[in-house]
Symmetry: C3
Subunit: 346 residues, 3 copies
């Protein structure tokens, strides 16, 4: 009985992580996977385990679009089929196959389909805005973390913590907590909307507003869909008549997404597209540094400590005291649990 949601797309890697040459390994949902790019640059993923003596194929070498096991030289093509056995008469045992995993490269990420059902490309969420605009106006990063993936989902789905935990770069100056955010459920997903004013404006936008330091209206919309993908749009404006949306404000359009490595470790991926100062590719480094400062230095130790306390206990079994801002993450936890339980029953 799988403990993760299966037959769904997770992010496996940043596009930039997977080199043209060589082999790349990473574990998803407890399964070790080896990845590489074929000569045509299309990505391949397969179980990182030779079916002969269980050596990780990632310890081996490339031979064209094939992988050769380091130990006894069995060679596998990119469909996982053994296509060369240097031993004895060279006959290839029928079982000499390695499971492969469907991949799609899109939005600067490589997405992997985990599950036994046929991969459904149409089920890949549309995060098209990441690819729209100046090519220098988008940045990506990867932040592995030794905690359960749902703690990171919780963290993004309840942004009221930004008032309390985060420092000068992204602080919302206590303006989110007094709100009961708007919760929206549609298409099997969960969204939370917040609107507020703050002075000075949030620092990530302050210098790009007409009157830096002066009051601005802000909005953020976080929109989860299974299993672990959260699209977050945040913006600020000093125009009293401007609608609170990406195009009308100084804004960014982000994707936060987690892939469980195990129940005790998470691959956290992040992308951010902006509608201002788009052409400055150097500015991406500042955006990513800010994200790392917030997540790695500020959220990270909190989440690790909570994980140490909770282990793999069910959150609700620990009788948490819930507050108004928990609406979003709690709804997400319940939906995901229901989906996982449903697949177990089927």
């Amino acid at each position: 009985m799988p403990k993760y949601l299966m037959n769904t797309w997770y992010v496996a890697a940043l596009s930039t992580e997977l080199p043209d040459e060589g082999l790349f390994k990473r574990t998803f949902l407890d399964i070790p996977v080896v990845m590489y790019r074929k000569a045509d640059r299309s990505p391949v993923a397969m179980h990182d385990r030779c079916p002969h003596r269980f050596v990780p194929l990632s310890m081996g070498r490339r031979d064209g679009d094939n992988v050769v096991c380091a130990y006894h030289g069995l060679r596998f093509d990119c469909s996982g089929k053994c296509n060369h056995n240097p031993h004895g008469n060279g006959a290839i045992p029928a079982a000499a196959k390695v499971r492969t995993y469907p991949l799609i490269e899109r939005y600067g990420f490589i997405w992997i389909w985990m599950g036994d059902a046929a991969a459904d490309e149409s089920a890949l969420p549309d995060y098209g805005p990441l690819e729209q605009g100046h090519p220098n106006g988008v940045a990506h990063t990867y932040m592995p973390r030794p905690c359960h993936y749902e703690l990171i989902t919780d963290n993004v789905m309840d942004l009221s913590h930004v008032d309390h935990l985060h420092g000068e770069i992204i602080t919302t100056r206590g303006q989110l907590s007094p709100q009961v955010p708007k919760l929206i459920e549609e298409d099997g997903g969960v969204a939370v909307h917040w609107k507020w004013q703050q002075t000075p404006p949030i620092m990530i936008f302050n210098d790009f507003l007409p009157q830096p330091g002066a009051v601005a209206r802000h909005f953020v919309k976080v929109s989860w869909r299974a299993p672990t993908h959260i699209q977050l749009t945040i913006g600020a404006t000093q125009d009293d008549n401007a609608p609170l949306d990406y195009d009308s404000c100084t804004s960014q359009y982000d994707l936060h997404t987690c892939t469980p490595e195990t129940e005790h470790a998470t691959h956290y991926f992040f992308a951010t597209r902006r509608n201002h100062h788009e052409e400055d590719g150097e500015f991406n480094r500042l955006k990513i540094d800010g994200m790392h400062q917030a997540f790695v230095d500020e959220d990270g130790p909190i989440l690790d400590a909570v994980h140490k306390t909770m282990g793999t206990s069910d959150f609700f079994s620990l009788s948490p005291v819930l507050i108004s801002s928990d609406m979003g993450p709690v709804r997400v936890r319940r939906l995901l649990k229901q989906m996982i339980d449903t697949q177990k029953a089927s």
Copy 2:
């Protein structure tokens, strides 16, 4: 079913360990606890876990005599009651409480009551002599150790090992082992008394005796009471007519006490009061250095190795070969086991 003796006082910290400002964390009996001093310096202890999302409160900050959780800003007073919720309408959920633990500060230690019954101050043992005499004549220390706490109790309750394991500073030169010590049970406790002669006298007293290097009569009384407190008085005299007691000899009055961190780690606390060279506060450093040399360097590796072998096995289930000097520690182990089993049954 608790594996430790509950509803009893353990030592939580040296008084000097708990600062006036900030938060101090330590785990007792598998329970993480955060401690701090109120503005009036009185100490507070509570479960180191916010009831909202299980973040250690010790990662948060002080707000007067309150503690504020780092993650979402819930604030708790020193009785563990939430007295500020910055979220939504600010209503405080009835369940938003943190368990607190009664503390008493006495004898240079902070004592903590672990258990569900009401704290019984009268159950705190009387170690008044630690507080009598010149204020420079007493020293305290803390020695954490990765072994089961009963191994440390065994170690102090059978001092015959001093003949074999310890070096020049506290060696008893083979004079304890040939004895069958006197075992006394009273008031639910267990005491072991030894008397002997040695030449030269034990080095901790040698320089304070009239004839350094010459034969002296010695005594030691070790007196355990549940759960883990051992009061040890040791002295030496070269006066043939002097009674063998603290006041009549060159003596010290010590407390050895252990608090289980877990079944695999122990907080070992020590205090030593002397009736000689009392005014020299600098001399305390020598006393504590000697204790560390004996326990940390000599006993410690032995106890760690035994713990590695025994794990959490019941000592008697391993069929130990017992010798005469085991009388004290064996009686203590049996009494403590009986007390723990009784509380399980109730």
Copy 3:
């Protein structure tokens, strides 16, 4: 139910590892053992655990041919019997005995009998050739490895991996893999024989052949016997009429043998005797360096990774895809499993 084959000889140490003075500790089959040499240099092994309070005897000290426990001074003779109790009246409890393990020192190794049956010296395999020839013509080494011991047995019983994994020093240049080696079962053991030609000859022999760099005929015979002993003879010749045996070729006669430390770690011992360049004792260093380069640097990481994947799973339960060269190791695994299961049933 023992998980290892018992009542059999394993190698405990190189003769050179066991010093004349002091105590040497090592764990075999999950059992900590302390070893030492008596004044007459004969080796002794006993359970590394004082029966009193379970302190490792290896933390104690020698007293002639006795061992004295560090903690309370109990002294044990080399038969494991307590022969001095410094406590009380000095009576020695009847149970104050430490289990000893029979040892034989032979072929440059110290062999230990693990099991409850009486040690059967006649069951020690005959590896006499290690002791024949010039005393400088034999070298020994010890290579501990954090993997299951059967993975090392597999590795030596299927040398086809040498074609693929190993570098210039011992490469067989793809000549073994195309063969189906000859499998021979006799006397409860399993042997695998390979013959091949390669150019240049295997580098360990190349410089000692009449025409370095020119084609040579090669052979290797690997012969396993329970539990873990593999005798390997390898040779090369450029004489078309020479028989392929140790004496007729430039050859070496090796012993590879493993002793489980636990199910997760192995003591791997190796000896190599050669029939050429025998008098050069310095050359032994090159032989051992070559072995370490092959095993520690090349095989080792592969075996560790496989162990991490397999844990203590039964190899066959993982449905390995077997190829022709697996005949030898698979036969050995099945025989050993049968022997272990038989002893469990009895």
